[in-house]
Symmetry: C2
């Protein structure tokens, strides 16, 4: 009898060709003119789920539909839910692509296309792993559900209510999320920590319209001057955050964790070269990985005010805006941090301007327990798929759905990334390593077998 | 015999109709596609100078041509040069105009069109004043030259070298510049002080490309964070400038000047209403007019970094830019201030980013002596044209050509504004008060007579 991993090896070309077909569909969820392509993409995924041997259906949401498949023939056995998304980021700026973003092209060991790693390549590896089990084992040793949503790149606005409404359909013990990455090439990783997020926008308003900075300067507050001072006041030296109370609930990094981070093959010089900065930087007393993974931050994400064209215009701007976000670590609470930040900004805002503070996003920080059957099985599955044990890592990003699965389904997330840190998700020439696509399928099939033992 | 002022009264309709014709020409100097219109506008002005009775010609510059006219039949008598510009600002944003910007329309007591006050309406009043003298007096009691350039709105890039090359042609005792404004409606003013200017742009560069703020935040310096801190560091409380040495050469406001400012009918509440700010603001120990006219300032003119669209994007920007300018008062030296500012920024820039500082503009502050024959004649001319004595005022803006006339021609500038502070020069629905257009012609004719006494 063929094993699932043998099935993967003999179906490599077929799987790659199907993935290329999937990548050819421009399923950009934020682009209203591509609604038809979104529907076409959902149909394609549905069709592939059915061909894999799952009972599958399209489930409407308030926005783009989700695609759902299941194979529930293991009574008394645990249930695994696989989560991914079929929508992709817009491909702009188009001129920086080496070829069409929706014309998937093999370049050396990589497949290059929008969505290659985020998230079509990754979720398709999971689906093909399930297929390999179904085609070779006849029936699965556990129950498997798979949910592929279509709104991740627009912030999954309907996902929480969808999960709440479909609680019994989605009930499960673990959720596999393959939307993160390995630590490095050939260093597979299980992510057990994610930062939380508070994303705010400060708008400072002064005069009713832009004024001449010569005629009016000095006699009324310039909103751009005020904005720079207010945002500067949120910052302490060396990347510290100066908002009162910000560090109150920060859980210190454990000694064992520091030692683990230190043992990771992190190439500091390579990281600096990759980013192109003259020097790395951060909170004193912490290593780069500690800063990235386990210390909270404040980053300005956007600034806009006045004249921004070439050359000079002597304008005293009517308005100034700063988008900024704070990444949180356990046990910081996004609502409390947002409230503190708003209070602080209102307190330091001079009475000579009006301010408005918009809230864009929030997410709680996450630490997934590293013990338990799910994680143990995932370690073995990685060993079988990638030929080596995974390292345990944290990430600076946020995956809000992890909190939702925990809160609504009481399911533990397994963050099993197949991508690489330099895959350029969201950027031009996004790529996915083809070998890791195949390894991911084997890993997925192995995970089903391990959980079924 | 008809007097010049009677001539003006009987030729009002004709003058207004000519001005409307002039305003119909879209002479936008910054718009390359309107080069033909620039040439057509120069021809129109040339033709009107000739019809007024001047020897006139088009003079090429490195860019848009200047139009020059003269009437030099008063040997042994002094010479007056009139300066203005026939180019105008771009009319954008078009949708805010009540009618076409180049479709001059009478609205109540105003003529509304791009260039109405800046500077076509103003220089055309001067030209018609000269015409009134020539048509009624036969010959002028002094020598008159008139120079109307075509590049003022793009910073007069060729004017200094042009004036240097045409030194003997342009030689004069006084220069009338009608490109400022009255203090208020029916409060005509002679401007004797202008602020200087240093306009810089700070560019902070960090990572080679925009990065994900979750994955990279905290481990490298965010250029937008750094920019806000650097610009904030240039600012002290209450609009003070915190750059070391900035106030070293500031000439204190004289007691007599403070008393004069105080006597002006300045409507503080109206000024606040007009600008729409919740509260006025500025350096402690100074009145609003003192802050506007006689105290140096620092204003951010533009901010740009990262994601500036609607909503949120968790980007750690590669670059952040701030355009900012300092308005200077006597005896601050723009070169010294620019040097100090650059030194200060380089000193406070952290080694974790790269910075670049661009210089956009510079101008020396100006104080025109208020004694002397020119100013005395101007006072009398205002009394005859406007029926009341002018007040003496300063301005927060800069008119760099004033320095050039002083340096190259050793000529004293007479800043005789005909516009009003709320004429919306550079903004949609720019306007010019028609009555002041006629008064300006009478004033100009009277000035020639007064200087000829």
């Amino acid at each position: 009898m063929t094993s699932p991993s043998e099935y993967v090896q003999t179906h490599r070309a077929e799987a790659l060709s199907e993935l290329r077909e999937l990548l050819r569909i421009p399923s950009v969820s934020t682009d209203d003119s591509l609604k038809g392509e979104m529907a076409r993409c959902a149909s394609f995924v549905l069709d592939r789920m059915k061909k894999a041997g799952l009972d599958a259906t399209i489930l409407p949401t308030g926005g783009h539909p989700a695609v759902y498949g299941e194979c529930l023939h293991a009574p008394e056995k645990p249930t695994l839910l696989l989560y991914g998304h079929y929508d992709v980021q817009p491909p702009d700026p188009l001129n920086l692509w080496r070829h069409g973003p929706f014309d998937p092209t093999v370049e050396g060991e990589y497949l290059v296309a929008r969505g290659a790693t985020d998230d079509k390549g990754q979720f398709y590896a999971l689906l093909k792993g399930v297929e390999a089990c179904l085609k070779t084992l006849g029936k699965l040793p556990i129950n498997v559900k798979i949910l592929i949503e279509g709104e991740e790149e627009i912030g999954s606005p309907n996902l929480t209510s969808f999960i709440r409404n479909e609680k019994s359909r989605l009930a499960c013990n673990w959720v596999v999320i393959a939307d993160s990455s390995q630590f490095a090439k050939d260093v597979p990783a299980i992510t057990y920590g994610l930062k939380g997020l508070v994303y705010l926008e400060l708008i400072v308003r002064g005069p009713r319209k832009d004024l001449h900075s010569g005629s009016y300067g000095g006699s009324l507050a310039n909103p751009a001057n005020v904005l720079t001072r207010m945002i500067a006041a949120c910052q302490g030296p060396f990347g510290r955050v100066a908002i009162p109370g910000f560090y109150d609930d920060v859980r210190p990094i454990e000694d064992w964790e520091r030692r683990e981070f230190e043992m990771l093959p992190f190439d500091e010089a390579g990281y600096q070269r990759e980013t192109g900065v003259p020097q790395l930087f951060g909170e004193q007393g912490f290593t780069t990985l500690e800063r990235k993974w386990a210390r909270p931050t404040l980053d300005v994400n956007g600034l806009l005010s006045g004249f921004t064209g070439e050359g000079a215009k002597t304008v005293l701007p009517s308005t100034a805006r700063a988008k900024f976000s704070m990444r949180l670590v356990p046990d910081q609470d996004p609502e409390k941090i947002a409230r503190n930040t708003r209070d602080f900004l209102r307190e330091i805002a001079p009475p000579t301007v009006e301010i408005e503070i918009l809230s864009h996003h929030g997410a709680k920080p996450v630490l997934v327990p590293r013990s338990g059957k799910g994680v143990q099985a995932a370690v073995k599955a990685y060993e079988r798929g990638f030929g080596k044990s995974p390292v345990f890592i944290r990430e600076g990003g946020s995956i809000p759905v992890v909190n939702t699965f925990q809160a609504e389904l009481e399911a533990q997330s397994l963050l099993l990334g197949l991508g690489l840190p330099d895959d350029d998700a969201h950027a031009p020439n996004e790529k996915f390593r083809i070998e890791d696509f195949y390894r991911g399928m084997v890993m997925m099939a192995a995970l089903i077998e391990e959980l079924g033992r």
